[in-house]
Symmetry: C2
Subunit: 379 residues, 2 copies
């Protein structure tokens, strides 16, 4: 099958770029002596995940549906990296009964108390990472927070204590997505590392085992100078990359492995608009590049081979319509590509765009579709 | 089952509000003597669509997957309201062979030529609506465009000619979503009506049958004073409503039938943040209210009964995390709802939010879940 045989819109994945992106980070982390626990929230596909590591290797998930799916496909060492809510305890237990080695996270006394009570009641031994806030970006306790020991006090000191026990700390330098220079990302990576290591040390000093120090974001994973004290790195979007990562120079535009195939269905010539059948339902509503140096609208327009067309972006999007225009807004500068032209749109945010599609149409550099890899959504 | 028995996030649909919203528009259009061809792109669910009209009643779709699904559930009179691309011709033909009465749209000579050639080649009789641009919002020809007759000239004059034939015109007043007063919506509705009727008249004067004059958007459908010359109205979001519709006063906040159930999983007290497990994956990245008088962030926070909590909004969203804060940004004004609190978030755009979920959890005003209605996504 050929890209021209597909109905549009469709999600295209270039396998050669996926493999190159994976090799790059794997080599980098091997040099730093730290293992990778890839975040599968971006790909939600066993076919993609197998290219990062065989079933059995550790993974990170953002939903228990991901945990369930990857467990069915042979991955057993699963970190659920969103603060656990009590309405998910029973689901975690079921996954463990089915063979998963689950790890969960939390950042407050109330959650720790509830989980400890559940584990005691159900006679469940469950490793818990305490979430650390290394950058003021989202959840977690700051590394020096007195509450760190209050949270730990609700949990067991080591695995042999049984129940919910303090397996270590986890942090995510989400603010690295907003860095405006490589230097800033390097500094953020060190801040992420140092914060997590400090928090783990405080726990160990207080008598907790805390063997795990888990850090990660795709930007910091690619620019950390040292990861001393860190036991694992999490990253997900690096497998596909996207325009947000390109905007902070973590990848080149040529590294972006995922794109949305769409077709020109009309024009508004006097406005310099090309209308396609790739709207926000296919691209997602993500506008992550709007706060970067170069605003890419809803995505960068490429030809069917994936080569960017000079300064043409998805300027607007309706549910099932994309409006392409020259970046300048000058109508005369839009090349009026004929009706029927196939195009590929590079997305702002690979996680958001891929989530809109039921499958990847896989190519290897060319226009030949060599496989269809299913993916899932929801909870 | 009760809302407290669900894992979060989950999509909640209040059936009583759905029925009330449907009755309101049905009564209104009956008064204007025009029939409804509901757009099922918002609900993508036979269970919801049956509340608007029994299988067999006319529907509008935005994807051929919707056409396929609703045909399987008994709906046969299907208008695919996105300019047809040649890579979808064969799919339309398959749907017709399976019993669908399909209507398609287009707005340019190239598409009309390609479709006419396909229909001639395949001996297919297919009604075509020519898309009219009534408001400069997206696709279509302006009502007075000379090209209107050039497009029609590629097609048959009436059904008995066979092939692709001119069944009429279609327009969508998408600009009505940006109106800032009811008066402006009333004016836009008349502009939409008048433009479509004028274009249809030009076609009839030139000898084309053009029996259909199809108009519609949820705002104009609710405020049109007259629909003389119009044969059908399309609307979709009116079944659920959302904050964008509330922002332009098409509905009250109490009319919004769809919400995302989520759970408080932590806090950042000094920032006045409440962290939940309802992020942009559950809410969508839609920020449609950001250009309205009141920016609702990623949604309005309600208690588990669906009552808005004073001035609490989803101020930020990560993939699986929502950050709730007081609208003012003053940390002291955020009520620190305890970990474990169940909340319901009203969405900016019902189409975008519902698309993120595999099913509706249906309530009837209360907290009792009386049914689970599946829905689908993709193409």
């Amino acid at each position: 099958m050929h890209l021209h045989d597909l109905e549009t819109p469709a999600l295209i994945l270039d396998r050669t770029k996926v493999d190159r992106n994976i090799a790059r980070l794997r080599d980098r982390l091997a040099g730093l002596g730290v293992s990778l626990r890839p975040h599968v929230k971006t790909n939600k596909s066993a076919d993609v995940a197998r290219r990062i590591g065989e079933p059995g290797t550790p993974i990170t998930v953002s939903t228990l549906k991901e945990a369930e799916y990857f467990l069915q496909h042979g991955w057993t060492d699963i970190l659920y990296a969103v603060g656990i809510a009590a309405n998910k305890f029973a689901h975690v237990q079921r996954l463990m009964q089915q063979g998963a080695q689950m790890t969960v996270i939390l950042d407050n006394v109330a959650s720790a108390q509830a989980l400890a009570a559940f584990c005691k009641d159900q006679n469940l031994t469950l490793p818990v990472l305490i979430e650390i806030d290394c950058d003021g970006h989202r959840s977690g306790l700051v590394p020096t927070a007195p509450e760190l020991l209050d949270v730990a006090a609700q949990l067991g000191r080591a695995k042999q204590d049984g129940g919910a026990w303090v397996a270590g700390v986890l942090t995510h330098a989400g603010a690295s997505y907003d860095c405006d220079s490589t230097q800033a990302i390097v500094a953020m990576a060190e801040q992420e590392r140092a914060g997590a290591v400090l928090a783990a040390q405080r726990l160990r000093d207080a008598g907790y085992a805390a063997p795990v120090v888990s850090v990660g974001s795709s930007p910091t994973a690619h620019f950390a100078k040292a990861l001393d004290g860190v036991t694992e790195v999490r990253a997900g979007v690096f497998v596909f990359f996207d325009l947000v990562m390109n905007g902070i120079e973590v990848c080149t535009m040529d590294d972006i492995a995922v794109s949305v195939l769409c077709t020109v269905i009309g024009h508004q010539k006097e406005k310099g608009w090309i209308i396609t059948d790739g709207g926000w339902m296919a691209l997602s509503r993500d506008r992550g590049t709007s706060r970067q140096k170069t605003d890419q609208g809803y995505g960068v327009v490429c030809d069917v081979d994936g080569q960017p067309l000079q300064d043409l972006i998805v300027a607007q999007a309706n549910q099932e319509h994309g409006v392409l225009a020259h970046r300048s807004g000058d109508p005369a500068r839009t090349p009026m590509l004929p009706v029927g032209t196939l195009l590929r749109i590079l997305p702002n945010h690979a996680c958001a765009t891929a989530a809109q599609h039921p499958a990847y149409q896989v190519v290897a550099g060319g226009q030949e579709v060599e496989a269809t890899w299913p993916r899932f959504s929801g909870w």
